[in-house]
Symmetry: D2
Subunit: 338 residues, 4 copies
Amino acid sequence: MIITLKRKSTKQEEMRVIEKIKKLGYVPHISKGVDITIIGMIGEFAEKYKESFESMEEVDHISEIEKPYKLASREFKKENTVIKLPYGIEIGGNRVPVIAGPCAIESKAVLLEIGKIVKDAGGTILRGGAFKPRSSPYTFQGLGEKGLKYMQYVGEKLEMPTISEVMSVEQVPLLSQYCDILQIGARNVQNYDLLKACGKQRKPVLLKRGMSSTIKEWLLSAEYILSQGNYNVMLCERGIRTFETATRFTLDLNAIPVVKKLTHLPVLSDPSHGIGIREHVATMAKGCLAVGSDAIALEVHPRPEEALSDGPQSLLPEQYKKLMSELKVLAKALGREI
Amino acid sequence: MIITLKRKSTKQEEMRVIEKIKKLGYVPHISKGVDITIIGMIGEFAEKYKESFESMEEVDHISEIEKPYKLASREFKKENTVIKLPYGIEIGGNRVPVIAGPCAIESKAVLLEIGKIVKDAGGTILRGGAFKPRSSPYTFQGLGEKGLKYMQYVGEKLEMPTISEVMSVEQVPLLSQYCDILQIGARNVQNYDLLKACGKQRKPVLLKRGMSSTIKEWLLSAEYILSQGNYNVMLCERGIRTFETATRFTLDLNAIPVVKKLTHLPVLSDPSHGIGIREHVATMAKGCLAVGSDAIALEVHPRPEEALSDGPQSLLPEQYKKLMSELKVLAKALGREI
Amino acid sequence: MIITLKRKSTKQEEMRVIEKIKKLGYVPHISKGVDITIIGMIGEFAEKYKESFESMEEVDHISEIEKPYKLASREFKKENTVIKLPYGIEIGGNRVPVIAGPCAIESKAVLLEIGKIVKDAGGTILRGGAFKPRSSPYTFQGLGEKGLKYMQYVGEKLEMPTISEVMSVEQVPLLSQYCDILQIGARNVQNYDLLKACGKQRKPVLLKRGMSSTIKEWLLSAEYILSQGNYNVMLCERGIRTFETATRFTLDLNAIPVVKKLTHLPVLSDPSHGIGIREHVATMAKGCLAVGSDAIALEVHPRPEEALSDGPQSLLPEQYKKLMSELKVLAKALGREI
Amino acid sequence: MIITLKRKSTKQEEMRVIEKIKKLGYVPHISKGVDITIIGMIGEFAEKYKESFESMEEVDHISEIEKPYKLASREFKKENTVIKLPYGIEIGGNRVPVIAGPCAIESKAVLLEIGKIVKDAGGTILRGGAFKPRSSPYTFQGLGEKGLKYMQYVGEKLEMPTISEVMSVEQVPLLSQYCDILQIGARNVQNYDLLKACGKQRKPVLLKRGMSSTIKEWLLSAEYILSQGNYNVMLCERGIRTFETATRFTLDLNAIPVVKKLTHLPVLSDPSHGIGIREHVATMAKGCLAVGSDAIALEVHPRPEEALSDGPQSLLPEQYKKLMSELKVLAKALGREI
């Protein structure tokens, strides 16, 4: 990092900063302008001491130079991470799997009905929530373990890997038992105890971006999981919060190429939650594919007005089928496959 | 809520919506313009069905009319909630307590040193973190239960109620045992399992605003706690995330009068985390008081460059003392007391 | 619009609102819940009176139902507007023109050099700034009229329509004389005198989205131009300001399908300004095409480190050529043409 | 500025950057870590060349060290600028003038009526718009020159300096003739031609913050005016655009102490536009005073439901009078005067 001292700092003030750098085992690099002195402190994990230097009265501000995460970075691992799932499905390779299903699991019958629609049109991973993070305590909170059992049943029957959201540390063993991928939702992206717990089990983890996570913070949250020994982490953009209210969130497709440059982990996107408007989900899904997403997550429901959650953004079966056939053509034009 | 149908909707489309409203036990109110038909569905918890109507192809959009929270609202309880704490301290009355202490508990000696500074200048509640939510897994994560024991010791010795952050459901019993107020941090404002767990125990809860929480979402999170039977909830504004990077966050003082109008719960503010720059914390604390905060939370540290967390925003003891004497004068001018 | 009265409003208060609605020539529609009374005022331009009702003490809040713009709306004109330019180029049809050139015009020779690169690879419209809006008064402000002359010369020589930015009312005649399209930049999206002046001349106008414009405000700004009689208006998404600083702006691709649904005007996008990082511009350009942009604007410069403005986001000639050939394949897969 | 090279850069790449720095007349300061090389380029206006270095393939990113504005900075002028107005009124001293009046000038009689209310309760500067920036072309656009004449008449009659908004270069002479302060509105904060034109005349200028201006951009806009020779510039915070929609904008009171630290120019605030809700304007005005605003701008209207603009946020005369008496007490407690 680069430490800029307060203007017209004295020799003594400079020395206090220099001594502190040396004490931490780094070599200080001093550059002096007419009014301004800057001191470089470069090396692994130097950024860890940022706050400690910012707290000094002598210091004006700090510019970060190195990345504060390590295991998640391209510098640590150059080639793309490919995550292997049951039934030969992979995420992070040339093929772009489509993850689809209802927002919430409602019953075994409906889940099976939707699972068949998803699979028939070319979707390969089944999604569905058993524990639902709802902003109001008075709305449907999910079927819990019963829902996970339905999920496991339908996944095995249709030979599709499954993914479902985990909302708390206690639910981790349950999710690990029934599902193939554990999803950490946007609202829990900085629930550090949950991140650590998911890092300690061995099922792959999908980490959604928080609605106000910077890219740096998002990668630091991934680092929490990786630092516990679980390297099967994938990231999923799902829309950030901005001033625009015409869409539910602002799906930030800029993040896909930027994050793929910074990390070796697969980067996915979820256009359903991002834009939140059924008639525009298919258009955004094409955008997700075009900017390089490694998988695309969609919500599908045959009767969205009866869905217990997120009906307004769920694709109808015909919309989903049409989209799948369009995505296949598009993937080919982009040198990829669905 | 008000349901606006798609333009030039047919009689049949209107009937589908009307029938659905009746089936849910509400009375539909129909208003027709030249091109547009709107249907009102007014009554308790009508907003609960918002998504279900939004999912219908016939519907263009929904405008919310009633509040989606109840127990937290002024309509439910008109007079201000006053929360009683040990040693005769109250939050929500005319007196504005100052909550102060280090960001993280570092040792018993340092906590006692800071506690004395806080109390001597007029602060009445002791803060300090034992479990710290840190964006990087490689930085200090807090002393855990040992820290809570120091907290209890210093609180009892100085006769000050204590507050500390709870980060997960498993920590709830621990925090309830050692502290007088449980703090739910900004990153956990939508950690619904944690909200429920804090609602089930009986110590007062301070709920920080999430960095991207709308006021409505924040009150819905409070509703989660209240709905479990714990009515001793206080809200604390601590800065929202905006495009401005000159400050750590944007402390949203507008929220204080707006939220106090909507809810009977006490509304506090935390200028230290909000602006994140030591030299401006005192100025913002005065702003917090002027707009009607029911308590003010501050960070104080005698040697911020040695603090294990948040040093850059911690007030030095002399700054804190000067601020306290200024706040006392200001409070009087505002018809309140510190 | 829907007027929600304050809770438990009296008969008299209701009458004051109802009388005001009648006086303005609208029919009030009253719906009463237990505690809440709402009154509909539906009809053309009812939203014009929003502030006037909001100002009444009796009124709690207003929900807008109808769009505040008219000429720009799909309701006013159902079929897409196709804008005809010299040399048979059109914007708004099935073909997606690429608009490319340097950020700022630097010399006749460099502009011609870039123009040839742009045209050879399939770009059909030449862009380049003669008047530059720069955040610092100490940086290059553009060549002015001399630059426009170079633009006209190169456009005619290469048979390409030209576009350049107009920054003030006085520059309008100059731009109308030398260029085929007048661009209104993001910083002037609510410079209403400029909008009106561009509406009074007859060259097509490209209106960029402001960095904090909501979609509604953007369409209202277009309405200003249309209301003066110039119907050849196209809109261009160029990135909004959010909390994310890893990219220059957040190119909001969600806006493309949403705005195309609301308006008949062509909707373009500018990935160069949006993401602001050269190596990611090509990826984002593909995203722009996939979500339905009617034209794509790019910056190209053979020696970006010598460019007088926006070098960091300018494509190198080889990057531009590669992108153009990829876009052609992608366009075909999407049923369009470049 | 600090130039960070791409990781593992070669000797040759370093030399290219070093040579470029030398050619521009600066001294390069090189610091090398294991993988990363950074090069300092420190000195006046080094930041001007930021884009030029960012454009180089060798460069990873740039960290700014020095401020890109000069005349506006505290380094250029240490003591506060005090702006002298007619009738002995000053802005920037210990006294905090209140600027009040209607949003739009509607008639001579109403303006005089409001002016008297303003003055009687202690307001010293009269505001009112003759040219109104309205988001819709179908709403009241202001009385124009006629309005300015009323303004001049009432200002002289009541012996109050006057302020009104200028929206375009052509209006500058008109405004300079009739008013004592020219206001540049939030929507024109980056209308550089207008900034320059206001810099060339000699009446004081009030520059509002744009709704998405960073503090740095805002000060650069002020620099445009100062660079033309007009040093009587004051800044006015009026609310930024964030995700929160419960308030019209988010009045950013954090900006007041931060900007006052960076610049010698007076910093004002406008709580009426910021929060946009009448019943909360007075509370926010107290907050504005407490954080150190050098003047406070308010909207007052005796019959807001008849106001032609911004009625919902205008204070009623009694509210205004009550607020003024409270502000006087508060100012004293803060060591200032109204």
